[in-house]
Symmetry: C2
Subunit: 550 residues, 2 copies
């Protein structure tokens, strides 16, 4: 009979315990959780704050009682593990109810302590109107503050996925919301020009945001909290949500002499085993080589934590048979009416890592244009310039973003390429897609670039360029051209190109653009086959250019 | 300069023409279409009839004029190709406007003539109130009949995807709709117990249907059409939609001495080349070995036609470089409030083909249960009993069916297995999925079956069995048990099993079931590890059993 101790009773911990029991009915399994609850839906917390999830009970999927009844797992809540003695294979536990300590021995120790919100030592940060969102207790605090103080104005510091979910939910509660973010964009997993679409959407919702700015001080002034930004700007708020990121909970293992990875997470091998053979780690706190960069990375996501847990339980019971392959970090968030998703690596990361890549943006629609409800969908993919191997994908849209990022993630996870995207046989009927899904189209367009059928230029390069050296050719209709154009562009619509070739110089670089890239590609094909040697098409067309430069 | 002639101007034909032009600006391309329109949205036709697509223009994506302007392709509508002279590499064309004939020579001939609705020689079938739905003209006829005669009662003969789409649209127009279907179920790509969920849904919509029945005669009686069924039943209708299937349009190539495949489609090799090296075929009319069975099959789907077209154009211009791999026939339909989808092979086909497989059904939810809008989702997958290689998938639900069938199709297309389903790193936030997506869960459950962690039994086997030989164990709560149970079952809820083991006999086969299969699996694990040697869990639980047997 093997004795398993598990530190942390939520995504990684509880799921490991459950699978352990299912495959080993006779094992002794004890799960330690320092908080009051186990198995709660962290991911639902912002929606519970906002009232979208109305019942608090719904957040708590299992209790110590139900865990005992169904899985015969002993759960000790309000018990914090405060030390690991790897030599004697025991842990020290602090019983937070009785304020006593005790030790417990293990055969195998599983550590899934998660990550804690970062709270930098900014003056005033301990103010009672400043909140973080990690667990049920945090949301209880926010909700009772709300009920008591009826805050009208909230500031969200940090505009990652959780920050934006909180912004939406506070807005939903009727608050005026301001976002403060250090980077030049919200949602750092996205690249800038994709985030620009989110910026536009936030504006339509009257959410104020300050980019390239951070908090230097919180200053209480009576009922109000005065927030000083590094730029010198000052803003007022009734409450603040701090969501500037998380830090893996590694103190426990570090003090036990277990190795951390260079990035600060708990280093494990492909069996999720730490540097101590009897101690395993998973979830947010664990670092594993990224499938593309090979660098140790943490995945702060529930899906990977849950899947790691199942694999780990199998390896614990059956021996090391299943290898973990690392996470591609597929993530998604609803941000008001739009959905934002990403998988794999962003362009900026590829650049930083010195990995050769091509990136491309296509705009499509969520279903056939002739059927009601077709909504714009922007897809960016990154891939190997030679093999087409997929490195990453980002999607923004209104409907079906989840499905399309899942298609891309499925290919990426399988180390597939843009050619696999081309061949996906998706389900097509008018309410759901087009005969060629936007993901297929992203694959086709990428293939054309690799094959040299078209060369592309990106909005930022074009924006920085001296236009006068080139011939900028707008192939949209005169009406579209009238409504807004790139400085210096000449308008010849795509359908007239063959007749008006003499207006297009052969001795200049021809930079073509249209609305989204499609007609520009058609025009590029005509010119490239008529001895224009230096022709490029603007990736994502005027739409991306306009979003990114406005 | 190569001269391409293309027969058929819609999905396969028009797309081939478009890609041909993009990669070969100098080619001569002439496209022949016997109808009035090219590039129309066949798939939108039912919705145009129903008024969901309000504007007729929307159905027609390109015109001969726009094709000429943008792609410099010559389009000859109302020109029917009536003969192929492979020796002289020419075709004979009938100009349907002037009623004249002419020949045209080709370097390469591309044939994408599609498939025509089957109209069996049933007495009365030529009645003016009987319609098929293939092209814009057909829908024009239906719409003007509707405007003139204001039909109140419609009969749809044949309940495939198009039949059900038509049923929904006629219902939407206010008609009372009756479906007549020869098989014992609607939607033949599905297996029976999955179709049973569609049957239930149709009932809630007051759509009448007669299964296991066919039409023996149409009999006009004044304003009414009297429909005699083979069972002897007679039903009245104001109009009839005939949607009992399609037949590939092969007359043209057959008469030219080009080989057909055993199934009757136009036989091609992996470059979509027919038995004549200068003639290529694609789309509905073309037959290609199925990726799993290896048998020649037609794919009557727009996605494959469009993708074949692009590949074919590339091979025509660049030589035979891209190989077609066959279609896994992913299909989807909205049927009133539910969505029904399938990919790969159904269980019944695997059975017929003598391919060893396991099938399993799981019921999940479209998103996290604690977030509003989680809707039931039923997934059935078929896989290799040893390797777990995926053979097919079927899904029924309300939301996200399209995304989940696409996940399965992406893996299946890539010849992946249920282990790939387990590892999909899907996008998870509460509005979109759960930390383990239902598709992951389908993979986990399948893995458990292969690994022998659980044995399953199917509803039909249990239904036919003599219950008294076995111990049928219902592990739901007493309340659930009260509301409906399987004859002869004993109720011990899962959480009490460990305490009540002595009530469960060791010398009988134990057949466990719960609501959907999850608690049954947990119970099975407990018993199997406590020396119960013959334990099976009901796949899909009581839910599938009830649907399939009611
Ligand atoms: C507000 C919010 C929204 C999120 N939304 C999403 C989303 O939409 N999608 C997504 O994929 N992910 C989301 N996440 C992330 C996801 O919740 C985590 O990735 C996942 O829960 C990590 O699992 P874990 O087991 O590593 O840590 P956790 O689930 O955080 O569990 C760790 C537990 O360990 C306990 N613990 C720590 N140290 C000790 C100790 N020494 N002794 C005893 N107990 C200890 C902690 O109290 C905690 O309860 C969200 C997270 C938050 C906070
Ligand atoms: C009502 C309906 C709904 C559908 N819904 C869906 C759906 O939701 N999803 C899906 O994937 N598929 C759907 N389909 C199927 C899809 O439309 C076809 O698979 C696809 O159009 C096949 O392309 P094709 O080029 O082979 O044939 P088609 O698109 O049918 O084109 C063939 C054309 O060739 C012409 N032609 C034939 N013979 C000659 C000749 N001798 N000379 C000149 N012209 C000729 C015909 O007039 C026809 O216009 C639907 C089909 C219909 C009819
Ligand atoms: C609640 C919790 C303990 C459940 O863990 P779990 O039992 O492993 O997970 P599930 O309830 O999803 O059940 C999965 C099991 O049921 C099986 N299963 C699922 N659907 C099934 C069906 N229809 N029929 C048969 N078996 C089924 C799966 O195969 C799996 O079993 P396995 O791992 O032995 O193969 C754990 O997920 C948890 O604590 N979650 C909350 C914390 C969290 O994840 N937070 C972050 C997200 S908000
Ligand atoms: C209308 C029709 C002629 C269009 O054919 P098409 O031009 O090949 O197809 P699309 O309009 O989807 O354009 C696809 C091309 O644009 C490119 N593209 C798509 N989005 C792009 C973007 N945002 N930027 C750059 N290029 C883009 C693709 O790469 C592809 O080009 P390629 O094949 O040379 O690689 C053809 O699809 C048709 O007749 N359809 C109606 C019939 C039909 O399909 N019926 C059944 C379904 S209802």
């Amino acid at each position: 009979m093997t004795k398993y101790l598990i530190v942390g009773g939520v995504a990684g911990g509880a799921t490991t315990a459950a699978r352990l029991r299912r495959i080993d009915e006779s094992a002794e399994i004890i799960m330690f959780e320092r908080g009051e609850y186990i198995s709660y839906a962290n991911c639902g917390l912002p929606y519970y704050v906002g009232g979208i999830i109305a019942e608090r009970e719904k957040l708590i999927l299992q209790t110590p009682g139900s865990f005992k009844a169904r899985l015969n797992v002993e759960v000790r809540v309000k018990n914090e593990v405060i030390g690991i003695d790897t030599k004697n294979k025991s842990i020290e536990v602090k019983d937070l109810i009785n304020n006593t300590s005790y030790t417990e021995t293990y055969d195998k120790l599983i550590v899934s302590p998660g990550a804690e919100p970062i709270k930098p030592p900014i003056p005033g940060i301990k103010d009672e109107a400043i909140f973080t969102v990690r667990n049920v207790r945090d949301t209880d605090k926010i909700k009772s503050f709300y009920d008591e103080k009826k805050p009208k104005k909230a500031v969200v510091v940090g505009a990652g996925f959780i920050g934006l979910e909180m912004a939406e939910n506070l807005h939903h509660m009727g608050m005026m919301v301001t976002i403060v973010e250090m980077a030049d964009q919200v949602m750092t997993p996205l690249d800038y020009e994709m985030a620009a679409e989110v910026h536009m959407h936030l504006k339509t919702k009257n959410v104020e945001f300050y980019l390239n700015d951070g908090v230097s001080e919180f200053n209480r002034q009576g009922d109000k909290l005065n927030i000083h930004l590094q730029s010198g700007r000052k803003i007022d708020a009734d409450m603040v949500i701090l969501s500037i990121g998380v830090r893996p909970e590694t103190r426990l293992v570090k003090e036990a002499g277990i190795d951390l990875a260079p990035n600060g997470g708990i280093k494990v091998n492909e069996y999720l085993q730490t540097s101590n053979e009897h101690v395993y780690a998973l979830g947010d706190a664990m670092a594993f080589p990224h499938p593309i960069t090979g660098k140790y990375t943490n995945a702060y996501l529930a899906g990977p934590a849950n899947k790691q847990a199942r694999m780990l339980a199998d390896n614990l019971v059956n021996g090391h048979t299943k290898k973990y392959k690392g996470s591609i970090a597929t993530a998604i968030a609803k941000v008001f009416d739009i959905t934002v998703a990403s998988t794999g690596l962003a362009e900026k990361v590829l650049k930083k890592e010195g990995i050769k890549y091509i990136s491309n943006i296509t705009h499509g629609a969520s279903n056939a244009g002739y059927y009601p409800g077709a909504m714009p969908t922007t897809i960016k993919i990154m891939f190997d310039p030679e093999t087409g191997k997929l490195f990453g994908g980002q999607i923004i849209g209104y409907v079906g973003v989840d499905k399309r990022i899942d298609m891309i993630a499925t290919v990426l996870k399988n180390k597939g390429s843009i050619y696999d995207l081309q061949e996906i046989e998706h389900a097509y009927a008018p309410p759901f897609s087009s005969a060629k899904d936007p993901v297929n189209q992203a694959g086709f367009t990428a293939g054309n670039i690799i094959d040299g059928l078209v060369n592309i230029i990106h909005w930022d390069k074009l924006h920085q360029m001296d236009a006068s050296d080139n011939f900028i050719l707008d192939v949209r209709t005169p009406d579209e051209f009238e409504l807004g154009k790139i400085e210096g562009a000449v308008n010849i619509e795509v359908d007239k190109i063959r007749e008006r070739l003499d207006e297009i110089p052969k001795d200049k670089k021809i930079i073509i653009y249209c609305g989204v890239g499609l007609r520009g590609y058609f025009a590029a094909r005509i010119l490239m086959q008529r001895r224009y040697n230096d022709v490029v098409n603007l990736s994502g067309g005027y739409k991306t250019y306009e979003h990114a430069t406005c």
